[in-house]
């Protein structure tokens, strides 16, 4: 294991200013099979991939302003793989003609001591859920079709209950800021999924009740 020369190594690593482009929609369970069938045909030829994830949403409350939200995910089907910690920024306002929701995004892979560590940092778990479903890829785009279930007893991922009788469909893409051709590509892909599912730009901040 030869270390690279120290001089060329940045002290802080990571990719700054990655943006998530997102379109969302939902499909009823009855129509799920035909959607999956369509996606299998449209997306890159790969082994069908399924997942079962446990997501915990953490809040860090400051003295003022909105709480800082972090999402920690772990795979229930691959218990040894790292945890996935995700920060999502506020959706960008401005350009109304843009076809997808755009927000800042930081993805971090972390070791299994993550929950304990977040607690020490002052984060508190707000809610948790289990998501299971299918992943498809088309170039840089990712399509996730997932069923969401609420956890009845905190921490017990065995004991869950479906949130609704429909599936969440998300089409997303990660790109450095300012690559607006990405949203165009996403829109044309979303067109091809109609009328099975209508993928739209949904602002989560306007969904609060």
């Amino acid at each position: 294991m030869e270390a690279p020369p120290v001089a060329v190594m940045p002290v802080t690593g990571g990719t700054i200013n990655m943006m998530e482009y997102l379109l969302q929609g939902s499909v009823l369970d009855q129509a799920l099979e035909s959607l999956l069938h369509r996606l299998r045909g449209l997306c890159d030829n790969m082994e069908p991939e399924t997942f079962t994830d446990h997501e915990l949403v953490y809040l860090l409350k400051g003295q003022q302003g909105n709480p800082f939200i972090l999402r920690a995910r772990r795979s229930l089907s691959h218990p040894t793989s790292p945890w996935h910690l995700r920060y999502l920024g506020q959706p960008e306002v401005g350009d109304k003609s843009r076809h997808a929701l755009v927000r800042n995004c930081v993805d971090v892979a972390a070791s299994h001591s993550l929950p304990e560590f977040l607690n020490e940092m002052g984060f508190r778990m707000d809610h948790e859920f289990v998501a299971n479903g299918h992943i498809f890829r088309k170039g840089a785009m990712k399509v996730v079709v997932s069923k969401l279930s609420r956890i009845l007893v905190p921490g017990n991922t065995e004991n869950t209950e479906r949130l609704s009788l429909s599936c969440l469909v998300e089409l997303s893409l990660l790109a450095p800021a300012g690559q607006d051709t990405a949203s165009e590509e996403m829109r044309s892909f979303a067109e091809q999924l109609k009328p099975l599912v209508h993928l739209e730009k949904i602002d989560p901040s306007k969904q609060r009740h």
Binding site: V6, S77, P82, H84, V108, A110
Partner: protein, 222 residues
């Protein structure tokens, strides 16, 4: 989203021991480092590039009243894609380099103590299956001390090879060899738990904190 591919170094790290080497009386840090290099080369060690360990300190801004615990974020050139975050004596995580970006996002909650940045840079030497790293510890651009890290790469359990390691360290550090690093002694599984990258970083952190507290010995600064 379950699709993460990452290069985290969780385990499978061999046993490392980090210790401080006192600067020789009336000599500069650089001189002491040169003496160590010469000794290693005489033994037949081969120089293999350089290394760097750094440490940033953060403190929480939103806790009013009591002093908050310090959060340390460290990097090691041996695991260039990883980032280690730890609380002294508390929990720690190994994350990928994006954790640094996350800390930037968190800057309204965690403030970087700029003056507290510590760096340790130096040369790597290989002798048989041993990896020896002699580093100069600098804080705000002044050399504060010398670190020596010895890694016995084939062995993953500290309890197995501590005596062997001690014998090796005596061969170039002289009889004043340190005791078994406390990070291993305090593990609940005892000395026979597998070593982790975090154990190495904890040792560096302890060394940095010790050097930070010590007075700058005026004559020894380069």
């Amino acid at each position: 989203m379950s699709l993460m591919r990452s290069e985290l170094h969780f385990s499978n790290v061999s046993f490392c021991s980090v210790c401080q080497v006192p600067v020789a009386e009336g000599k500069s840090v650089q001189h002491t480092v040169d003496v160590l290099h010469k000794k290693l080369e005489q033994m037949g060690s081969v120089k293999q590039g350089s290394f760097c360990v750094d440490c940033e300190t953060y403190h929480a801004t939103n806790v009013s009243g009591q002093p908050s615990k310090l959060l340390y974020v460290m990097h090691n050139s041996e695991t260039p894609r990883s980032c280690m975050a730890l609380y002294e004596g508390g929990p720690c995580i190994v994350a990928d380099a994006n954790f640094d970006v996350l800390m930037v996002k968190l800057k309204s909650h965690f403030q970087n103590a700029k003056g507290h940045k510590v760096e340790c840079r130096g040369s790597r030497y290989r002798y048989c299956d041993f990896l020896i790293k002699v580093g100069t510890v600098t804080m705000s651009s002044s050399a504060r001390g010398i670190s020596v890290e010895v890694e016995y790469c084939p062995c993953v359990v500290p309890g197995d090879c501590w005596n062997l390691m001690k014998e090796f360290m005596q061969s170039f550090l002289g009889p004043s060899v340190p005791e078994l690093p406390s990070v291993f002694a305090t593990k609940p599984e005892g000395l026979f738990a597998q070593a982790e990258i975090v154990d190495t970083m904890t040792q560096y952190l302890e060394l940095f904190n010790k050097l930070r507290k010590s007075q700058i010995p005026g004559s020894n600064v380069r």
